[in-house]
Amino acid sequence: MDFIPDPAEQSFRDEVRSFIAGALPPEIAARTRLDFRPRREDMQEWNAVLYRKGWSAPGWPKEYGGTGWSPVQRHIFAEECAAADAPALSVFGLQLAGPTIYTFGSAQQKRRHLPGILSGDVFWCQGFSEPEAGSDLASLRTQAVHDGDEWVITGRKIWTTHAHFADMIFCLARTDPEGKPQRGLSFFLIDMKTPGISMRPIITIDRSHEVNEVVLDNVRVPSDGLIGEVNRGWDYAKFLLTCERTFSAHVPKSRRALRRLKEIAARERQGGVPLADDPVFRGKIAEAEVELQALEFAVYRTLSDAAGTSAVGTILKMRGSELEQRLTGLIIEALGPRALRYWPDPSWDASLSNVLLHPEDEPGAMGTHLFLRAATIYSGSNEIQRNIIAKRVLGL
């Protein structure tokens, strides 16, 4: 083990920073700065810019379009993107569907789907959770029945982020109703334009439209919509959930939030005293920063753990989500009563936002705080994370 600093890292950071400064469209950065829910157009345009540079999927194997960067370089890149107010790219293609397809898919499936994911032209959403299957995902009821050359899929998915503008959905469905629930699931890739798919928006407590309920009514999926083997879907889902782990610590995003918090604390005053000079508030900022620093190294450790045997990987989602929430909480605390103003999120109704928005009003701050109450719920609730740690790490 050593921690000898690598001088090449600073020049890499400079290169990345300078590229982003030249290539990130200012209107997109300005919109991202406001912290409303990201728009498809913004994610797509930035994805295309990165794709042309060959940088849209740094974590992928080089043979599939990855950059071959070290874990530290990938982290530097993500940090610089977040700091510059580049929109976060949709994770469902690049981080979830893509890795599943290049790991378990056929050559034909890879040829068909990977380019669109890399370029960002094709948007994905995740059909896992159902009204009756949240934490107990394996009990899901959406059924897939083989009919000739096709699968006929019927069921209901919920909390489906981006379904309203996605082109494709990857879905877990039950192909064998007998036996252990986990052993009867299969993994499907489905075109959202397939007849039988309908949806309704679910407005979340931040008053944005980000998630949906998706109904599949006898949706006919060709045989090449099945990934890998029938009834092995749970294994592929578990693989996918491990992929989620490292990015779900959201260190670059939290570093950006910490920077924003310090700016706000310097601006907001009680009487003549900036909040940043209030010893109690300064202490709270310090606690959050200390946690972030440790989390960053927890991510490096996990990325270096090729065998996936280290315990540290199991804590990332839990501590990462709690830190995100702590930071949004401190931001709205710093804003005081100004955080209480309701700024309509354009994602619910574009016509609602006809007021000129000033970044220093932080119009998206409260919405982000409310939306991120979900961070400890999605991607495996923090209660489930604790179960996993207790069982798999501690052997209890």
Partner: protein, 372 residues
Amino acid sequence: MDFAETNEQSLLRESVRRFAAKTHPFKGGVQPVLGAAGNWNDIAANGWTAISLPEEAGGIGASPVELAIVLEEFGRGLVAEPFVSCVVLAARAIALLGSPEQLAIVERVIEGNLLLAFAHEERTTRGAIAEVATSAKRDGGGWRLSGAKTCVHGAPGADKLLVSARTSGAPGQSVGISLFLVPTSGAGIERADYMTIDGFEAADIVFDEAFVPADAIVGPEGGAYATLRDVIDLAIVALCAEALGNMERTLQLTRDYAMLRRQFGKTIGSFQAVQHRLADMLTELEMSRSSLYSALASRFSTDRTAQSRAASGCKAFIGRAGRFICENAIQLHGGLGMADEVEVGHHYRRVLAIDAAFGNTDYHLRRFAALA
């Protein structure tokens, strides 16, 4: 000390609860809209606008217990009406300080014919009452007001504002603050109306040499601080009572959900982790109620410092406990807790707003310690 509600108090509670259920039935997933019709007439018709106002001004001079009962039911029922701003703050300040002519305004508020809004907090106030920078400079027979007030509850629908402004002294000094009755619009008055996240109407108001006549001043010139402190202390207790209603309803909803929702072949309420969390929430709720009662008790003495200290202690406690209960409630509801169609998120937004109003937990811990 007697903790049992009297018959009248129970009847009051039931009638407010019925009012809330009838006039403010829960509706989620709806875009909040300025200018939606409220139910102020019912609130006045029921006599609740007279609670906490002295008899000399036409009120019923009821004890703070009755006020707490009304507000708790408002919280439980998510009643978004400018009651605290209009009655507990603006009308009460005028009732305590106003001239006989100005007391007539209080009567009209009680009757439901006039709405006031309390415009005191500024961007740098954040609970520190003396942090007023808005100035009032003499001009002929009246004054010209200049400054900016933030998040004034009820301003969009109000008939008049009660505005704190300095006739002397510097921000941070308790001496020199005066109160003025000011129109809600006019020359030198710029209002930005908006909804707050918890469904209330509010405004940011900028005064630019706005003229008010001689009789607009309420109470002694430069001497409003003590009254401001008193009305704000009572308002803080009222808001804590409201939050308690939000918190109790939230715990009830979450307990019911835990008994209904099944995963892994059993109700989620069967899991010990969930049971312990709900037990912690119940504990915080009962402690919060106890903290509120200690603040209510302080209102029965005449020791103003003790009253301020008790209000701060209660606000600090309930600010934190409210966030604890409501955040855990959302967590235990899982994905459903994130849906605007579901009630828990609405209670969370209200407790966040109450925590931020008139000083947050950190501020009130500091004031509590300073008043020792």
